[in-house]
């Protein structure tokens, strides 16, 4: 799939901009704070109805205005689609595909899927477990409605349980029975989440090992593993996972009470990353970490491609300058005019370094144009 055209009205610092794109590589060159990331962000909103970096939709509206609109034309394998997203501070958000209202963001992702790769991702390997969970969650939520449902219900159940833990001290009478009904909800949605994450990690493991080898030139082996925050055997099935989580919740009840929050469950799980058996999360050189995240992102791209049976659009925000020659070359070889790619950079040299004759745009103070 690729984005042919986009129109922005009162989105971030764009008052009214219309741009058409190449199905290959599009490079956006401009100084800092001109609107390069804003432009990629608008593509992300078109794909998911949400920003990947803003806290609220309100932040996306051009200052002093109270509504924004994004319209895009997307070409998929079979047909061309029109997506339209409107947000009004008062009336809320409104999403249309080909003139029909849609209510689930996964419908959008079927039409336009994106993978974002930005400098923050370079922290994923060494960063907090939350960052690694987000690496899995952000894509799975988009492409798998069952995952999105389990995620949403789990999150609510967790908030309810934590409210009870926080609020009710020991004085509360029915505390145990109150917690028990939420434990049950937590365990059943949590088990679903864990099973789906494990399935995804299983595929990503194979894909990223392959890509790690391609960047590093072989020799070293990358391995991913889903690490639960409680004892839970892999491949024993959803029902067994649910039982394991239930018993872990019961065992940690006292600790959770004293902390006022639930200490086990998929919201505390991690994605373990090893090279040659060594834990990259705490050891490993910067080079290994960068190669690992690059391999994982490219693996995710292929994983999403398999799920939606089409190629997602790749958004590379300021990462080219963070990668060395070897890794940049690898990234471009994956893209190789097959995947529509948006690259932002402050350095005009990046455009010149790409051999596949990219389309280059200049971005300046809320305006963008093709050079």
């Amino acid at each position: 799939m690729h984005l042919e055209r986009i129109q922005l009205v009162n989105f971030r610092n764009y008052r009214d901009e219309e741009l058409s794109f190449s199905p290959g590589i599009n490079v956006f060159v401009g100084n800092n704070a001109q609107g390069k990331t804003n432009l990629l962000e608008s593509v992300h909103v078109l794909s998911t109805s949400r920003s990947h970096r803003a806290f609220s939709d309100r932040d996306l509206v051009l200052w002093g205005e109270n509504a924004f609109a994004i319209a895009g034309t997307v070409s998929t394998r079979s047909i061309r689609h029109q997506i339209r997203i409107r947000y009004d501070v008062d009336a809320g958000k409104d999403v249309e595909i080909d003139g029909k209202k849609v209510y689930r963001s996964s419908d959008l992702t079927q039409v336009l899927a994106v993978i974002v790769f930005s400098p923050e991702d370079l922290q994923v390997v060494k960063g907090s477990p939350g960052m690694r969970r987000r690496f899995l969650d952000s894509e799975l939520i988009q492409i798998n409605p069952a995952y999105r449902h389990a995620y949403r219900e789990y999150t609510k159940a967790l908030q309810h349980r934590n409210s009870i833990l926080k609020g009710s001290a020991a004085a509360h009478h029915g505390l145990d029975s109150d917690l028990a009904i939420w434990d049950e909800q937590l365990a059943s949605h949590g088990a679903k989440l864990i099973e789906l994450r494990r399935e995804a990690v299983q595929e990503l493991k194979v894909l990223s090992a392959d890509k790690y080898g391609a960047v590093s030139g072989g020799g070293e082996e990358l391995e991913l593993a889903y690490a639960t925050s409680f004892p839970c055997e892999e491949s024993s099935g959803e029902e067994a996972t649910k039982e394991a989580l239930l018993s872990a919740l019961a065992k940690t009840r006292r600790e959770s009470l004293s902390r006022g929050s639930t200490v086990v469950g998929p919201h505390r799980d991690d994605l373990a990353i090893y090279v040659e058996g060594q834990d990259l999360r705490s050891f490993g050189s910067q080079g290994q970490q960068r190669t690992a995240i690059l391999a994982m992102k490219m693996a995710m791209l292929e994983f999403v491609e398999r799920c939606i049976d089409d190629l997602p659009v790749l958004l590379l925000d300021d990462v080219m300058s963070e990668l060395d020659e070897k890794r940049r070359k690898y990234l471009l070889s994956v893209v190789s005019n097959r995947i529509q790619t948006f690259i932002t950079t402050t350095s005009p040299d990046i455009g010149n370094a790409i051999s596949d004759s990219p389309t280059v745009y200049r971005v300046e103070n809320g305006r963008a144009w093709r050079c």
């Binding site: 501070v89 309810h160 009904i181 909800q185």
Partner: protein, 198 residues
């Protein structure tokens, strides 16, 4: 900042307290009323006052009613040994539309939701437990199939077990994560038929 004259700004202020109505919509509604025929607006105001003052909650099932007990609770044709537990009065309407169900109702007026500070004592659960102690053979829990609805159903089931009342739950056909209110009649009557023991 310049303001509208007092009666208008007061109307806008009151309207914007309504759920789902922001200041802009409130303003639009207010001006719509100002430009409508006088008796149309009077009818609207009267309808609001009537609805609020002439109705109450049934003292048995807590559905909205004019007479107490309500029509369903006082009907001789209903099966008094079956109670269908729902979240809101709108759910009673939805199930009545199917024409399948002949038992009584119990409206909880909410679901358990600790993060909003709603516990068992904040909805009509104690009243339900009291009703379950009368001769009742089945309690059908028709709360929404989301996490709060499921937790509430489980809470009810646990109490029912201790007093030997059979509890069932609507199961088949309901869209996962959906609301009862939006289910069509066919889906809903199928869900009613396929209810499961919990």
């Amino acid at each position: 900042m310049p303001k509208y004259v007092e009666p208008v700004s007061r109307l806008i202020e009151e309207l914007s307290k309504l759920p789902g109505i922001g200041p802009k919509t409130a303003q639009r509604l207010a001006f719509h009323m100002l430009s409508s025929p006088r008796d149309e607006v009077v009818r609207l105001a009267e309808a609001m006052i009537d609805a609020r003052t002439k109705t109450r909650q049934c003292s048995v099932c807590f559905n909205i009613t004019v007479d107490d007990p309500c029509e369903i609770c006082s009907s001789a044709d209903r099966d008094r040994t079956t109670i269908c537990v729902v979240e809101y009065p709108r759910d009673v309407i939805a199930i009545e539309r199917t024409g399948e169900y002949k038992g009584l109702y119990h409206v909880l007026h909410g679901v358990l939701s600790p993060m909003d500070g709603i516990g068992p004592n904040d909805i009509k659960l104690r009243e339900l437990v009291a009703r379950m102690k009368e001769p009742v053979s089945e309690v059908i829990v028709a709360t929404d199939p989301n996490v709060e609805g499921e937790a509430t159903a489980m809470y009810i089931a646990r109490i029912a077990h201790t007093i030997n009342v059979r509890t069932t739950r609507l199961a088949h056909g309901l869209p996962v994560g959906g609301d009862l209110e939006y289910a069509d009649e066919v889906t809903l009557s199928r869900a009613l038929e396929g209810r499961k023991e919990i």
